[in-house]
């Protein structure tokens, strides 16, 4: 009999090879798919805490996302059949123009996907207007901008301005992420949140979307 605790622990242990069986066993034993999802998300939260305590490192964040991805593949058919399930939200993200770093962005993408968001990854070196156009086209809730360089972070203001020009400033939230990003970005570039850690970004985005529900 698989418990929520077992599901959490499989994510914390980065049990990439075994997670599919754990999820299938849980479903076979009659566990509600939403309860399975909660157990998995619990594991992801613990991984985030371990990262903050420097007990886990970036590759473990990445592997937690990979393990979660496999878990969701096994869980999704049952989850979508459940009448209570609702996708968490839609995010358009990419590394902004001039920035070709994508590792942090990919970690964030993995964790957001693992948290049930539909993520559209625009890649690297993305022009500011493209973020806005894609967000409108896909009816996104959030735009995620990755910018590792101090010289590329200011371009995030162009995304904010382009949203404002279309009257969408309140409707689509903007989060800036990158290893060198500080809270100053909120006042300097007008973004809604600024983080230097993917797990914190996921928590903020979850809060936004839950707040709307």
């Amino acid at each position: 009999m698989v418990s929520e605790e077992d599901l959490k622990q499989a994510i914390v242990d980065l049990d990439y090879a075994g997670i599919r069986d754990v999820v299938q066993d849980a479903l076979a034993s009659g566990m509600d798919p939403l309860t399975v999802l909660n157990g998995l998300k619990w594991g992801l939260d613990v991984v985030g805490s371990l990262y903050h305590n420097r007990e886990y490192f970036l590759s473990e964040l990445f592997m937690a996302g990979e393990t979660m991805r496999v878990a969701l593949e096994a869980l999704m058919p049952a989850l979508t059949a459940s009448s209570h399930y609702q996708a968490a939200g839609t995010i358009v993200m990419g590394s902004i123009a001039g920035d070709v770093h994508d590792f942090g962005k990919n970690i964030a993408k993995n964790l957001l996907t693992a948290s049930g968001f539909t993520v559209h990854d625009l890649g690297v070196d993305v022009p500011p207007l493209q973020f806005v156009e894609e967000a409108v086209r896909l009816q996104a809730d959030v735009i995620g901008i990755s910018a590792i360089l101090s010289s590329t972070q200011p371009t995030s203001a162009e995304v904010v301005d382009a949203l404002a020009a279309r009257g969408l400033r309140g409707a689509i939230k903007v989060i800036l992420g990158g290893t060198g990003v500080t809270q100053r970005a909120i006042t300097e570039y007008g973004v809604d949140a600024a983080v230097n850690d993917a797990t914190e970004g996921v928590t903020i985005i979850r809060g936004w979307v839950q707040g709307r529900a």
Binding site: F57, L58, E60, E66, G98, V100, H101, S150
Partner: protein
């Protein structure tokens, strides 16, 4: 005292006549400084700024007769590389890169578009690969020439460049390589042993030419922490680095290790396996004073002013204060090299660079008298 003697003295943890200085500056910045000082060459510039650049690096290059394809030649032109420099060996490995949209601006960077080992599924796919032929004619001609030219006055590092980790992910892709590390020990070992054998042979060739030591360049961290768990690093990488460094140590040679980011958890391991000089001991995210306190009698800190904060965004007075603090706490007893902690980006204020080296010239002489 020659720049070589100055550097060797500090590497031996004794105080030379003054702190050895480095300058990691792109051509654009050097041209601005040349204009400021009214000099025509880099040699004149470094002389007037008191930058002794006590070491040079030599490496294996592309073999005689190698010709770049037009795309690569264009890439080099845009990014500012010499076509036949060490970077050309990426072409030989089949690693493909593309320049970012900002082209020749201050954001002159590339990203990877193809990792030639990414599709491999079996360890033997990698272990059976022919690697670059290090015995091909011409590989070490430039190294040979530079050593002959500079060995009387400069310390010579035999540069292995990206060696196990960085070369591993450049060939495999970062995420596939991380996945290997966590889920596929056989593939991990195939990649690392293949690269280690290659690095050991290259190191032997460079040491045979007369290099004073070997240098390894890997980026193990970002500002927050390391890319992989130190436990995983100790399992897969440490023993292989030890084998590589032993090659130099058995011949009485030195080991230089570069890694950006916060690599605090493995500094003790690096000292244990023979690293003599660590660069850049990134000032924004590592406690340099603590590292000096614990390892200062065995490890040289080849460091410099904050490249992410003070140099681009500080005032000349901020620069001066940071330099004085470093001299006061890190320079005593030698084991200390200073300059820019990494390559200064193209748009740093020239006034800050001038203050950096003027302060070092004014207060960097031993015995130290730092206000």
């Amino acid at each position: 005292m020659t720049p070589r003697d100055r550097l060797l003295t500090t590497l031996a943890h004794r105080e030379p006549d003054r702190v050895p200085l480095t300058a990691r500056l792109w051509l654009d910045t050097r041209l601005k400084l040349r204009r400021h000082y009214g000099v025509a060459t880099d040699d004149e510039l470094f002389a007037v700024m008191g930058i002794d650049n006590g070491a040079i690096s030599v490496q294996s290059l592309t073999p005689s007769g190698w010709q770049p394809d037009p795309d690569y030649a264009r890439f080099c032109e845009l990014i500012g590389y010499e076509v036949h420099s060490q970077y050309a060996t990426y072409e030989e490995w089949g690693i493909q890169r593309k320049l970012g949209s900002q082209g020749q601006s201050v954001l002159r960077q590339f990203f990877f578009t193809h990792h030639p080992w990414e599709a491999f599924t079996r360890p033997q796919d990698i272990t059976s690969l022919p690697l670059l032929d290090l015995d091909a004619p011409g590989r070490f001609d430039m190294a040979h020439q530079l050593i002959a030219e500079h060995q009387a006055t400069r310390l010579i590092w035999g540069s292995l460049g990206h060696t196990l980790w960085t070369k591993g992910w450049e060939l495999r892709g970062m995420m596939p390589f991380m996945k290997d590390l966590h889920t596929n020990p056989a593939m991990t070992e195939a990649i690392l042993d293949t690269l280690l054998d290659y690095a050991c042979y290259k190191a032997t060739r460079l040491l045979d030419l007369g290099c004073d030591g070997i240098s390894v360049s890997e980026d193990w961290g970002n500002n927050y922490s390391m890319f992989i768990n130190p436990a995983l690093w100790r399992k897969y990488f440490k023993p292989r680095y030890r084998r590589l460094f032993d090659l130099a140590k058995r011949r009485g040679k030195l080991v230089y290790f570069h890694s950006d980011g916060n690599i605090t958890p493995i500094v003790g391991d690096l000292v244990e396996i023979g690293v003599d000089s660590l660069n850049p001991v990134q000032p924004e995210c590592m406690n340099q004073l603590e590292i000096k306190r614990i390892y200062g009698d065995r490890l040289t800190l080849d460091t410099g002013i904050s490249n992410q904060k003070t140099l681009p965004f500080g005032t000349p007075d901020d620069v001066k204060q940071e330099v004085l603090t470093a001299l006061k706490h890190l320079a005593p007893g030698g084991g200390f090299v200073y300059g820019t902690s990494h390559f200064a980006l193209y748009d740093v204020p020239i006034a800050n660079l001038i203050t950096l080296y003027e302060t070092l010239q004014q207060f960097g002489a031993y015995p130290l008298q730092v206000p």
